[in-house]
Every structure is written in structure tokens, then in C-alpha cells.
Symmetry: C2
Amino acid sequence: MPDRSFLEWSLTIQQRMEQVLDGFLPGADIAPQRLHQAMRYAVLGGGKRVRALLAHAAAELSGADAALAERAASAVELIHAYSLVHDDMPCMDDDDLRRGKPSCHKQYDDATALLVGDALQTLAFQLLAEPGLGLAPEQQLQMVQLLAVASGSRGMAGGQAIDLQSVGQALTQTELEYMHIHKTGALIRAAALLGVYSAAVVDPLRVKAVSRYAEAIGLAFQVVDDILDAEADTATLGKTAGKDADSNKPTYVTILGLPRARALAKELHDEAISALQHEGAGATRLRQLAQFITQRSF
Amino acid sequence: MPDRSFLEWSLTIQQRMEQVLDGFLPGADIAPQRLHQAMRYAVLGGGKRVRALLAHAAAELSGADAALAERAASAVELIHAYSLVHDDMPCMDDDDLRRGKPSCHKQYDDATALLVGDALQTLAFQLLAEPGLGLAPEQQLQMVQLLAVASGSRGMAGGQAIDLQSVGQALTQTELEYMHIHKTGALIRAAALLGVYSAAVVDPLRVKAVSRYAEAIGLAFQVVDDILDAEADTATLGKTAGKDADSNKPTYVTILGLPRARALAKELHDEAISALQHEGAGATRLRQLAQFITQRSF
């Protein structure tokens, strides 16, 4: 069990992120109202905000300003939210539920969901390019670049394309890993690194350590997801469970079996911790997050 | 008729843009291949590249480097291409043809088209955030910001949302204008302004003049589009003509009738020219473009 102070810390950030995202999203009364309502529906009120927690933990390690960490975390959460909205659409995973609520295209309609995803992506880059934040402009540009590379055709969107092609295929563990490194790993790595880049001074050795940490955590996250998906039922997970198995998508559990998948999650956790060995107490939240991600069972 | 030197200039730029975009897009042999092939299919080999021409003409006026003008023009063309791919999808306009070829989702599939649009948008911002271009980083950030605002929920994507809501509605000319200012006008304005911002020195008065010019041209572009759509048939236009009238979408022609729509196009042309009155011979290409856009009949 993660300790009590970690749970308090993450709850505080989750609640704060809700306010911050609320402030960054256009108001529901601003035209076009339906689009803005749907954008807010897709982003607010839910999710574990794992990416925001990672950004904040890495920002704490780096001594970043809270406001800058919140902005970086918001940009990543907006990209994540856009990818979920598009991923749930009928032409992709065709999921009716998301976080226990109707997914965006079910609550609104397909065309609106398409535009919601498009506009959330744009807003993410807009946030990072805002002038006068008190960061060096070249560092802000690096953040835009980092987020773009992580979410584009050679990052997250590319991973989704590989995922599409893999339905019904018998993938090896290496091929599955390659897909997840892109589909979820790239954005998780970007979340942590944007936390580091939110600070006035960026230490290249720290960038390396956090990058290695986040790569391990990103894969662990997916392995645990597959384990949870294999175990859970619709009621507890809040999304249509067993979906991946139904649609013949390869998972760590179908390839490795449950016991070996659990061992792999543990291994990746240890790898993440070892990447932070030269960081001191400032990395406590990152270490706790590694544990939280690999041990979460809710 | 636009003069011969203008036609040569635009042909040169159209051809050069083909090479430049080809270089910016990931190769068709790079994984995920199908996604990269589809991205190239959606961007390369066609279009009048009006936005690229506007960016180049404004860059010439401002004395910008060719390489920077090409990059800015590419970013705008990628945003435009992404919007067309998503706009053609079954849940939006459901168009089977684009530039005389099967639209992206017909040539590939809906899921791939969704990801193509997503990844093209990302690539646009990635291009503008590239380090070491020789522009001041704060100016590059302004370019990212400008493109994001123009294409997001209060720009292009917002205009598309308004368009969705307007099907079957009896719009006034003011409401129609409001929609087009967002749907096409914002990106056309961004194209011209990114041309100005590609130069080492940005003159605020020039930004104002080019902005006013581009706002007029953006609307003119749409008025002419509606006129052409009303006149043309599928064979000459390369897209399913009469579609807007079929689906009961309001157009300038349905609201004003052909003669008054033509007069409006002329009026907007004159407004664009008058916005440039304090610019000298450097604005020749912009003036010619205004004429080209309002008089194009192919």
C-alpha cells in the first residue's frame, strides 16, 4: 500500500488539476457552445491523472514553479483526453463507456467527438506556447517539440496505428512492447520530462534518469492494465471489460500468462527505481508513483 | 486574367511546396508504414496551395528567408490537409472525392484517416517548434501560438462545429460570415501572418495591414467557393458538386443570389487591396493573390 502522505499528495494534485483544466478550457457558454461543452465533458471530472501526477512529481524533483508544472501537466492531460475521445469512436475501438460515463461520441455525436479531439490537441500546444510564462522561450519551444514528437506519427498516434494493424495478429512480446512504447509509453515519458522542463534550470543527467524511469513506468503501466483487464469486470473498471480479449487484441496476459505478466510488472518497477538511484529525497514522489502504478488494483 | 509572371511565381511555389512537404513528412517506408503512406497521400500531389502562396507572398513582403517561409507555409498546409481529411469522413461531410481522387478514408479506412488527421496536426506544430532555425525563439513561440489559436475551438475547429449546427438552418448573412471567419478565415489569416513572422524583424503596422488584407481575402475565398459550387458540376470541380445545396447548407449564393454574391466578392477584393495601401511594390504578390482568389474560375 502506498503511504498516506502519497495518497494525500495525489488527491491534492488530482483536485487541483480539475480546477486548472477547468480554467484552461473555454467556458461552456462561449461559442461554439456545444463544442466547448463536449470538450469539457471529455476532460473534466475524472481519471486518475497519472500523467499529471508524473509531471508534478518530476517538477518537484526539479524545483519547478507550481504554475508551470500545472500548465505542463494540463498540456499532457489534454493530449491524453483527445486520444481517448478519438480512440473510443466507432471507427476505432467503438467504446460506449469511458470512466463509467457514456464516451464523448455517445453523449454528443461522432462529428462533435471528432472536433473535440482535434481542438483538445490544439489547445495542448497553445498552452505550452503561451508567451510570458517566465521560462526561457527556447525551453518552451523544447516542450512543444517534445510533446509533438511524443504524440505524433512516430509516437502515440503511430502506436495507435500499429495497434489497429495488430488486431487478430499473433504478436511476439517484442512486437507488443514496440506498440506500447509508442501508444502509451511516449506520452508518459513526455509527461515526466515536461515536469523536468518546467523548471528554470534543466539538468541533462536528470533528463536522462527521468527518461529511463518513465520508459520503465510506461511499459509497467500497460502490463498492469492488461493484468487488470484480464481480471476485472465491467462494474469495477468502468469501461467495457474483456474488450481487448474479445476483439482478439494481443495483451501481455495473452502472450505471457498472468504469473509472468505480474513478474514483468515487478521487474519494470525495479528498473524505474534503479534509474533514480542518483536522485535523493526529491525523487520520493516519483518512486511512490512507480509503486502506485505497478500495484494499483482499483 | 492574372499576369504571366504571377502564374509562373505560383507554379514555382506550388512545385517547391511539393518537395518541401515531401521532405517534412515521414517516409512511406518508416513504421508505421500504412499511416505514413496515408499521411503522404493526404498531403502530397495536389491542391492550389492557396495558404502556402499567401504565406510566401507575405514572407516576400517582409523580407523573410525562403527556408523559413517554406516551413511556415508547410505548417499551415498540414493543418489544412488534416482538416480536409477529417472533414471528408463519414461522420462529417461524408465526401468520397477530394481533388479528383478518393478521399483519405475511402483510399485507406476511417480509423487510418482519423489518425492521419491527428498526426498531421501534430506535425504542423512540430515544424514550428524545431530548434535552431535562426529565428528568435520567442518569435517561433508566437508562430505556434498564432497557428494554434487559428485552428482550435475558437478558430477553424470551432467554425466546423458551427457549420455542423447550421445544416438545415436559415442563417442570416451575418451568421454565415461568422461561421466562415472561423472555418476558413482564421487559417487563411494565420497563413499570411506566419509569412510576416518568418522574417527576422516583424513590423507591427505590417502585421495589422496583412491581417486586415487576409480577413477580407478569407471571406472572399469562401464567397467565390460558394459561387463556383453553385455553378460547377462534379466533372470540372473534382469534388462532389452541389453537395452543400443538397445537404441544405446555407451558402452566400443561397442567401444573396448569384449577382449579389459576385458583387460581394469584388467588394472584399477591393477591401484587401486597400488594406495594403501603405505597402509598396513588395506587396505585389499579395495584391495579385487577391485578384487570383476572387477571379479564379477553375
